[in-house]
């Protein structure tokens, strides 16, 4: 039976260490846990990133993506935590964890999860700059290309 993903959409920071420990706690069949942590960069004098989401649909979309990962790879567990609201440079935005008996499943599922989150989960980033200017981040063709490699 596929693992049940743990999903959270929250404004608070997350504890990557505690989340990682949770995936192997009390079990001895986990051989590896792959992780991705997305962090806010301070490109071009960025002072903050504000993430808007669609409450309800966002959780649903992430759950669907994570469920697909659990069906496609033999995962013992997976976790996706995505923050919303105002995030400062250096702060984490998203955590993806994929646990499996073997590394390849964990690493591939982790890459799949972040690639699909970027293109299929309803979040929108607005950049704020030190001079008061703001700018909506535009979707990138390279993100679509990265997501497309998992199709089929």
């Amino acid at each position: 039976m596929p693992a049940t993903p743990r999903i959270a959409v929250q404004d608070a920071p997350f504890d990557a260490g505690a989340e990682t420990a949770r995936l192997s706690a009390g079990r001895t069949d986990v051989g590896g846990i792959a992780s991705f942590i997305g962090i806010c960069r301070a490109d071009d004098g960025l002072s903050a990133m504000v993430l808007e989401h669609y409450p309800g649909m966002t959780e649903r979309a992430i759950a669907r993506i994570a469920t697909q990962a659990c069906e496609r790879w033999p995962l013992t567990g997976c976790t996706v935590i995505h923050r919303h609201g105002r995030i400062l440079p250096g702060e984490p935005i998203v955590l993806v964890l994929a646990a499996s008996a073997h590394r390849i499943a964990a690493l591939e599922a982790c890459a799949f999860l972040i690639d699909w989150l970027k293109t299929r989960a309803p979040f929108w980033k607005r950049e704020e700059f030190a001079d008061g200017a703001t700018r909506w981040v535009e979707a990138k063709a390279e993100d679509d290309a990265a997501a497309a490699r998992w199709a089929g």
Binding site: H53, W136, A139
Partner: protein, 83 residues
């Protein structure tokens, strides 16, 4: 039907949500977009290039030919940029 707007679509229209009752001729997402674009200058600006706007019907992504019905929750937003 209940409409929700996000990101710059919300900013251009000037509201995050509204309740509308389009005429019966409006049958799908594309028809709704065309009808909405005539509602106000803000709507016209948001839907000026419909290819830049994505839609969801009842919290699932929906193509322009997806049907819309009274009671639906329909959202319009730019291509997503999370992760």
């Amino acid at each position: 039907m209940k409409l929700l707007y996000f990101a710059w679509v919300r900013q251009k229209i000037g509201t995050a949500e509204e309740e509308v009752s389009p005429p019966e001729a409006v049958q799908d997402v594309a028809g709704l977009v065309a009808w909405l674009a005539a509602r106000s200058p803000g709507h016209a600006a948001a839907f000026a290039d419909p290819r830049q706007v994505r839609a969801a019907v009842n919290q699932d992504f929906a193509a322009p030919d997806h049907p819309v019905r009274p009671g639906d929750e329909i959202a319009f937003f730019p291509p997503v940029t999370g992760g």
